[in-house]
């Protein structure tokens, strides 16, 4: 019986260290529980260690850009819902932002506030779900995910009672917003936001100090700041590497300069930092929302000059970008003066954040690769468009 250590100690390690003979190529996806949709990674394994990882895209390439170039500006708005289907409000806004930049439209104050409210609520939805999915990848039996979805449902109820749909809000318009929330809606939203930190606290009590989480995420998938910048990585993933670049501050999108909030920064750039960035950003979002509900001005929600049907911006081009929950979401539009955009391009943060996936995963095990992918936060609708 006491023989076990004699054999197993080194041999177990040898699984990781001494497998230089044949490598095992595993194709993870497009149907795999933790590729967050139909992403595919062709992983070459040395034992359980990753020596090569090639992402394969396109399994959800549904030609969003081509369709948008064949349809009117307004008709593209519901399609943007389906880009990043977890955060339709921000994709709506980013598109509206680009169109407004293209046509030089103004947006009323109340609509600007509403956009920020919706964007930050969306950030809460996205980050809490992401964290839930991340824990699923880490091997929990759905519990954190379901707690996150419990809170998500409350926010989705708000979205639904405002815009009519849970996920595909189709709420923003160029020149404003579609529906004005009622005072009851605002009160409900405000109450929800006030309660949200309690959920976050409970969530953190449950998980943040968990030794297994620390061991599984700290030091895993490190991303150096210089590499991240060069690879165009944005959003919480970039900030986890310690780069201070938040478009809400840098570009001062919308009325964000009117709000007081901080941008959390990581130091190690590992999976744990990326997880904590989400948690801390949610706390900041709560602050922004609380301010917004206090200072929401009255007034119209649409620019009275705005024209939705038969909208023909004059020829030109514009690149509008927004700090979506996943990073810099940009829309690049070229107008030739016709009702349809000549070129309609989405700059998807999810896709570009995957640029360094292989570098982050190399040397780690297959279990880590799953977690690293989870911590990057991709949505395939946006990756493949």
């Amino acid at each position: 019986m006491s023989l076990f250590p004699a054999n197993s100690g080194p041999t177990v390690r040898a699984v990781h260290d001494e497998f230089h003979g044949d490598l095992l190529e595993v194709s993870m996806g497009p149907q795999h529980p933790s590729t967050h949709g139909v992403f595919r990674m062709v992983v070459t394994l040395d034992g359980e260690q990753i020596v090569k990882l090639k992402p394969v895209f396109g399994y959800l390439h549904r030609n969003h850009e081509k369709i948008a170039e064949n349809t009117s500006y307004l008709s593209s708005m519901p399609y943007t819902d389906r880009l990043d289907y977890l955060c339709s409000m921000t994709t709506n806004w980013a598109y509206a932002l680009a169109v407004e930049k293209l046509s030089g439209q103004a947006v009323p104050d109340r609509a600007q506030y509403l956009r920020i409210i919706m964007a930050e609520l969306t950030r809460l939805v996205n980050h809490s779900c992401l964290v839930g999915f991340l824990f699923n990848d880490l091997g929990t039996s759905f519990t954190p995910l379901l707690y996150a979805f419990r809170e998500r449902e409350k926010i989705l109820d708000l979205f639904e009672s405002l815009s009519g749909s849970r996920m595909m809000c189709n709420y923003q318009r160029f020149g404003g917003c579609r529906v004005d929330p009622s005072p009851e809606w605002l009160a409900a939203a405000s109450a929800l936001v006030d309660n949200f930190p309690r959920f976050l606290d409970e969530y953190e009590t449950m998980l943040t100090g968990n030794e297994i989480l620390l061991a599984r995420t700290q030091g895993v998938g490190r991303l150096a700041a210089a590499h991240a910048i060069n690879a165009g990585i944005t959003g919480p993933v970039l900030r986890a590497s310690g780069v201070d670049y938040d478009l809400r501050k840098v570009d001062g999108t919308g009325f964000y300069p009117r709000f007081e909030f901080r941008v959390p920064l990581g130091a190690h750039g590992d999976t744990y930092d990326r997880y904590m960035m989400r948690i801390l950003e949610m706390r900041e979002s709560v602050k922004i929302l609380q301010q917004a509900f206090k200072t929401l001005p009255a007034g119209p929600i649409m620019d009275p000059k705005a024209k939705l049907r038969g909208f023909r911006p004059k020829a030109g081009e514009a690149y509008g970008r927004l700090e979506s929950p996943k990073g810099e979401l940009g829309f690049y539009l070229i107008s030739d003066g016709s009702p349809n955009p000549w070129r309609y391009r989405v700059r998807p943060p999810s896709l570009i954040n995957l640029t360094l996936l292989e570098e982050m995963c190399l040397g780690h095990t297959i279990a880590d690769a799953v977690v690293i992918l989870g911590s990057i936060d991709i949505v395939l609708g946006e990756v493949d468009r």
């Binding site: 023989l3 004699a6 054999n7 080194p10 041999t11 040898a14 001494e18 003979g21």
Partner: protein
């Protein structure tokens, strides 16, 4: 044929199988396994003699087998570790290839 003899026949047949395997196969792991079989065949004898021998009351046979199991397991462990070590250097588990003492 008495019980004892039957057991002994079984043991010697097992021994022969192990011997033949150890001699015939060139894969080091299989050779090791053949040797393990031979050891086990010897253990069968101990038990057989303990059970049907003249002095069953004494636990000598059983204790001998226990020690033999322990030592055989140690032998297997070291042997397989050797196989792995040789494989690492030679990329082969053929006995003929492990003919040099230097790695």
């Amino acid at each position: 044929m008495s019980m004892l003899q039957a057991c002994l026949v079984l043991s010697s047949l097992l021994f022969c199988v192990g011997l033949a395997g150890a001699l015939a196969r060139s894969n080091t792991i299989l050779v090791l396994l053949g040797i393990e079989l031979m050891l086990n065949a010897a253990n069968l004898n101990f038990i057989a003699f303990w059970r049907y021998g003249p002095h069953p009351g004494a636990g000598t046979g059983v204790i001998f087998v226990l020690f033999a199991i322990a030592v055989a397991a140690a032998e297997a462990a070291v042997g397989l570790a050797l196989v792995i070590a040789v494989h690492r250097h030679r990329k082969s588990v053929r006995l003929q290839d492990a003919n040099s003492l230097k790695g």
